[in-house]
Symmetry: C2
Subunit: 443 residues, 2 copies
């Protein structure tokens, strides 16, 4: 292999996503280099305004106003196109691809409108065009369809692909806000643009849906044959109907394929989703996609669908794939370098001690039915400063025993172990206590 | 590249998963060959009993009782180890790896107990060991951690990794079955073994959890430092407490990492999960895993965690990755061959006509408040044979108008379009009707 051992990376655009990519790439550079067995050279970033204040500091020697200084630099192997739009972005993308480079893109509109031209350039010049970041932010949905679930034909792909719509509908459905108020809030929170048309009229979701449809079925859905509807018309009567009959109102992208009849449909519209469906539980700015494959059955992926960091996660995933391809390591996660790096990583970890593992607990105690029993129990909790959150006590008439179920505030395993040892010693505790942890993502 | 243009595949074991792999590989062979630009040769399958009746027919010229005829065949490049256990499976795996072959494995116990030895053989002899099928069936969780989310460090990985436990707990929680009855049912349905110990005592989930912990953190969790609990002790009082306070009872695998303090914990135990958490909604034999990464935030993957077909989907995904690596195509989904294959695929698809797209509909109509108005509306539905499922009618006092919200049974878009055209023509319909589709995965 004569692959370059130093990989040059260039970034076009330093908005939210560009800044996220710069930040996390520099933070993880050492780790990625040891996994990939290459040096990474973050060579150059093209920006519109050199003077603009940004949360991320890029050395001024690395910034330029001329995107061609990024694209044409022979030492830049991977170009991240994060400027958006379909004019300059298209020119720069094609220029990089025609030089045989890798382009990593978050640009759904570009791919959707110029997909055939882009992939033609890939084929002719041996580069790559990677676009995990274009659909559903950090959720690795492109990779799932393209690689992990490659054994499948997908008769149904259905997803919540626009976080702005989902945030608005969640607020309307769960908190009874009006559409206008929910939109205003989304704008204040930065989830919706000042001109929210692309999001709330379904155009953004249409772009993403057609990318998924093309990936799964090889065909670009013509806009004219696609139902594209937004959420402007949703009102309280609709929310009410949905709630009464066990539905959630969601803005869906639905791609169906009938393999026998030979057709596919792509539709983007607000819909009533049965509450039992996992997509009904995808709330706020999250995205979620269910793939129904003929081999795997239904698989659902959910997570943050937008935002600089989540999208940067996808961009970096693509960069790593691209580098693996450039250097001939097909499984970046399991190359010899990566195995060595993982081993090295493992040496820095120890198993936690019991006083470092914290969660709320649930206990079920079987108790002698006698005066003063409860007091004896609670004295032990209080002695170890374990606070009790909830209690349900049952009597079992004529059996001379009762049941107490209770939950605690977060406490470490070592302390809970001491509490349990003392509880077991009590003559009034009749059986081995049942102990469950309460899962708390926050603790 | 001197990569082989015919890739030989051998299978060890023809149980549920082995049969699934054979079935779907043969069905998808042409498609996979054109995507990958190679010929696939399903050379040989080692079975314990040549005479056994199976749902899948493998030509007798391809079956053998001697697994070495598979492993040692120089024309077999990819060995799928699907026999399970840790003795013969270990010998065969190491033998194949020492010959520099690719081993694709669904064997969690083997990987968990002999991981270092296996990867040492990979490194020394240049083969590959791929194990997507070992955790969470068809859900591409290994690939997500290893590749898609490679930019992330994972402070939390939490999952429902054992479908048997989840089925039992779902039935106890939602349908108030006793543990004994739920277990019995799981056994009758084939979800639990006659000896269910590995599943319900948490050993199976522990194996899977330690694979995920190793993948994310590079360290094999020692059994002695891991909390491993099953679900035998769960009773109605626990279910009741959970229900009252907004929790679901789930058997979880929890891997936490504190990057500052330098520790990780691995625990496998029944826990109370808040209903708002998406894992609380993963029911029946499904699996679900939430990854919380420092870049991407929380991402959740759910789907069927076991079964021949779902697991076969993962095995075939790994086979395709392995072939891409062998032939130097790093992105199987976007190689020139694959792009051409996708284009070819696209030529076989047309966009559906409106009479082929079917779903139930929801309508909101604003109506003049006058006798006979409803009849006029319903006459149109009845004329087009569209059945109405649910109606809510409101009056708006003193406004001279009312609102009708209703849902229909499934109907095609063309027919609904005719209904809407006629409704719009009525003088009693005061505003443009609001039309929503009802998402129905079944239709």
């Amino acid at each position: 292999m004569t692959a370059p051992r130093t990989i040059g990376i260039g970034i076009l655009g330093l908005g939210t996503v560009g800044q996220g990519v710069w930040k996390h790439l520099t933070e993880k550079q050492t780790d990625l280099e040891s996994r990939l067995g290459v040096k990474l050279d973050l060579r150059r970033v093209a920006v519109r305004d050199l003077k603009k204040k940004r949360a991320v500091k890029v050395p001024s020697t690395k910034t330029t106003r001329d995107p061609l200084e990024v694209v044409d630099d022979p030492k830049v192997h991977v170009v991240c196109e994060l400027i958006g739009g379909t004019t300059i972005a298209r020119e720069l993308t094609l220029r990089a691809l025609r030089a045989g480079k890798v382009v990593v893109s978050a640009n759904k509109a570009l791919l959707c409108q110029h997909g055939p031209e882009i992939f033609d350039a890939v084929r002719r010049h041996g580069g790559q065009f990677l676009f995990e970041a274009s659909v559903a932010g950090g959720i690795p949905i492109i990779k799932a369809i393209r690689e992990g679930l490659v054994a499948n034909r997908f008769e149904l792909i259905v997803g919540i692909l626009n976080g702005t719509c989902n945030h608005i509908l969640t607020r309307m459905g769960e908190d009874s806000l009006s559409f206008a108020d929910a939109l205003k809030e989304a704008q204040q929170l930065g989830y919706a643009e000042t001109d929210p048309t692309l999001d709330i009229d379904g155009i953004d979701a249409f772009h993403k849906a057609s990318i998924l449809a093309w990936l799964a079925h090889g065909k670009w859905a013509p806009r004219a044959r696609t139902l594209v509807e937004g959420i402007r018309n949703i009102g309280p009567a609709d929310i009410d109907f949905a709630r009464r009959f066990g539905f959630a109102l969601k803005h869906l992208a639905v791609i169906r394929r009938d393999f026998k009849a030979g057709w596919m449909t792509v539709g983007v519209y607000p819909a009533l989703v049965p509450n039992r469906d996992i997509l009904a539980r995808v709330s706020g700015v999250n995205n979620g996609i269910t793939l129904r494959g003929d081999v795997v059955g239904a698989t659902t992926l959910t997570g943050r669908g937008a935002g600089g960091d989540a999208t940067a996660s996808a961009v970096i995933g693509d960069i790593v794939d691209a580098i693996a391809a450039l250097t001939g390591a097909a499984n970046p996660g399991l190359s010899a370098e990566s195995l060595a790096a993982r081993e090295q990583l493992g040496r820095q970890v120890r198993m936690a001690n019991l006083d470092e593992i914290v969660s709320p607990f649930y206990l079920r105690l079987s108790l002698l039915d006698k005066a003063g029993v409860s007091e004896g129990i609670y004295r032990i909790f209080s002695k170890h400063k374990v606070s009790i959150a909830r209690v349900i006590q049952y009597e079992h008439p004529n059996q001379g025993r009762g049941t107490v179920t209770l939950s605690t505030y977060p406490v470490n395993e070592a302390k809970m172990s001491k509490v349990l040892t003392e509880l077991r010693r009590l003559k009034t505790v009749l059986e081995e206590p049942v102990v469950l942890r309460i899962f708390s993502p926050e603790s």
